[in-house]
C-alpha cells in the first residue's frame, strides 16, 4: 500500500506492507536512520518518535497507523538554521551521550517531557525515562542534561 504522512514538516509518500512498522518505514523507505532499533520487545526506546505530538515507540506501531499523521524524528529536532536545539545542546554540554545509539530516543523522550512539564524534578525525569534504556551513561548526565534544558541550574562537569 502507498502511505502518505508528514515527516519533520514535509509530506512524504512511500510503499509499505501491512506489517511494515513505522520504524522500518522511516529507516528503509525514507532513509531516516536516526531512529534506531535496540530491542524487539518494545522496551529500549531507541526508536522513540513523536506522532501527532505524542511520544511513541515507532517499532511498536504499524506504519499504516501513521497515515496522514504528523511525525517528528530526531532528524527534525534541530533549529531551522541547523544549530542544535536547546535539548540537543544540553545533551552535548552535559555529556548526556556516549555511544549515541539510545540518544535519538532520549532526546525525543526529553522533548515530550518538557512539553508537558517545563520544569520537571529529577524524580519526574527519571520516571519519564522508564521506557528508554541507556547502557553507557548510568543516566547521570542524561538527567543533568534534561534539567539543564529545562532552564534549571545544574553543575557543569569538572574542569
Amino acid at each position: 500500500m502507498k502511505l502518505t504522512m508528514h515527516v519533520n514538516g514535509r509530506e512524504v509518500t512511500g510503499e509499505a506492507e501491512g506489517r511494515t512498522l513505522l520504524s522500518a518505514f522511516l529507516r528503509d523507505a525514507l532513509g531516516l536512520t536516526g531512529t534506531h532499533i535496540g530491542c524487539d520487545t518494545s522496551q529500549c526506546g531507541a526508536c522513540t518518535v513523536h506522532v501527532d505530538g505524542r511520544q511513541v515507540k515507532s517499532c511498536t506501531m504499524f506504519a499504516a497507523e501513521a497515515e496522514g499523521a504528523q511525525v517528528t524524528t530526531i532528524e527534525g529536532m534541530e533549529n531551522a538554521d541547523g544549530s542544535l536545539s536547546v535539548i540537543q545542546q544540553a545533551f552535548q554540554d552535559h555529556h548526556g551521550l556516549q555511544c549515541g545509539f539510545c540518544t535519538p530516543g532520549m532526546v525525543m523522550a526529553a522533548a515530550a517531557l518538557l512539553r508537558d512539564i517545563p520544569q520537571p524534578t529529577e524524580a519526574q525525569i527519571r520516571a519519564h525515562l522508564d521506557g528508554n534504556i541507556c547502557r553507557c551513561t548510568g543516566y547521570h548526565n542524561i538527567v543533568k542534561a534534561i534539567l539543564a534544558a529545562s532552564g534549571q541550574p545544574v553543575a557543569m562537569a569538572a574542569e
Partner: protein, 261 residues
C-alpha cells in the same frame, strides 16, 4: 513478522464485518500484539484497526459512573479520568510514557495479561465491560490467563466504572518488564470493599475475598493483620516465588488501603 492485510474502518459495524473473516484480529494500541507478532507467535491474516472509530474513544462521567471508550489510551485516561483518581493514577503508571500514548483500555482487557494493571481496576470496581453485542460484568469477564468471556469477532467498546468512595492501586514492579510482579486495587463502595489482585496468580486477576470481608468491616490496614493468602496457585518465576507473591499481596493490600483511606 508474517504479513497481513491492514484495514482501518470508521465504524463498529464495519469493524465487525471485517472481523468476520477467518483469522482476522482486532488491533487497538498494539503494545502487546506487535511484540508477539515480531516473535511470530501470532499470525492474523487481517488486522482490523479500531483506532479510526471515533465512537470508541473518550471519558464520560455521569453521576456515579464513569464510562471510558475502549480505544482511549492510558495517557488519555490518566489525564481525563479526574473523577476517579485511583483509576487515573493506575493508567498514568502503566508501562512507560510511549506505551501510554498507544496502549488502550480495551486492548488491555481483551488481552487479559495476568500481569496487566487494568484488569485489577475493572474487577475491583465491579465494572461492566460493554462489548459490540452485550454487557459483561467484570466478575464474569476475566477467565484465566489471556482468556476472557469475549467471543470471536466480539470487541470491547467501553467500560463502565462505578466510582467508589475511596480507592487506590499499589503495584510492585517486576524489575525487568516493569509489569506488576503483584498489583492490588482496593475500592470501597457503600455496599462493601472489593480487592482485586493482578500479577500474582496463575489464574490471572482475582478477588481476595477474605480481605474484602475484613476491610468491609474495618477499612484500615490493621484489619488485614490476621489474614494470610496461601501460596498455592500463585506464580513462581525468575523474579519471585509463590510464597513471595502471596506475601506481597498482603503487603500491597495494606498499602493500598492506607493510600485510599
Amino acid at each position: 513478522m508474517y504479513n497481513f492485510d491492514f484495514v482501518k474502518p470508521a465504524t463498529v459495524e464495519e469493524a465487525l464485518a471485517a472481523l468476520s473473516d477467518e483469522d482476522a484480529q482486532p488491533l487497538s494500541g498494539g503494545q502487546t500484539l506487535i511484540p508477539s507478532m515480531k516473535q511470530r507467535l501470532n499470525a492474523p491474516s487481517k488486522l482490523v484497526s479500531l483506532l479510526g472509530i471515533a465512537a470508541l474513544k473518550g471519558v464520560k462521567t455521569s453521576g456515579d459512573v464513569m464510562e471510558i471508550g475502549a480505544t482511549t489510551t492510558h495517557a488519555e485516561v490518566a489525564a481525563q479520568a479526574t473523577a476517579y483518581p485511583a483509576l487515573a493514577a493506575l493508567a498514568g503508571a502503566i508501562g512507560d510514557p510511549a506505551v501510554r500514548n498507544r496502549g488502550t483500555l480495551g486492548g488491555s482487557l481483551a488481552n487479559n495479561d495476568p500481569a496487566a494493571c487494568y484488569p485489577a481496576a475493572v474487577l475491583a470496581s465491579g465494572a461492566t465491560v460493554v462489548t459490540s453485542g452485550r454487557e459483561i460484568a467484570a466478575d464474569d469477564f476475566f477467565d484465566g490467563m489471556f482468556t476472557t468471556a469475549l467471543d470471536d469477532g466480539e470487541i470491547v467498546t467501553a467500560v463502565k466504572f462505578p466510582i467508589p468512595q475511596a480507592a487506590a492501586y499499589v503495584k510492585f514492579e517486576q524489575p525487568a518488564s516493569r509489569f506488576p510482579l503483584c498489583g492490588v486495587f482496593v475500592a470501597k463502595y457503600a455496599d462493601g470493599v472489593r480487592v482485586a489482585v493482578t500479577g500474582a496468580s496463575e489464574e490471572g486477576v482475582f478477588r481476595w475475598t477474605e480481605a474484602e470481608a475484613a476491610l468491609s468491616a474495618d477499612f484500615s490496614a490493621g484489619a488485614l493483620t490476621d489474614l494470610s493468602l496461601p501460596a498455592d496457585g500463585m506464580m513462581t518465576d525468575l523474579h519471585g516465588s509463590a510464597e513471595y507473591r502471596a506475601h506481597l499481596v498482603k503487603v500491597l493490600t495494606g498499602r493500598a488501603v492506607s493510600a485510599a483511606a
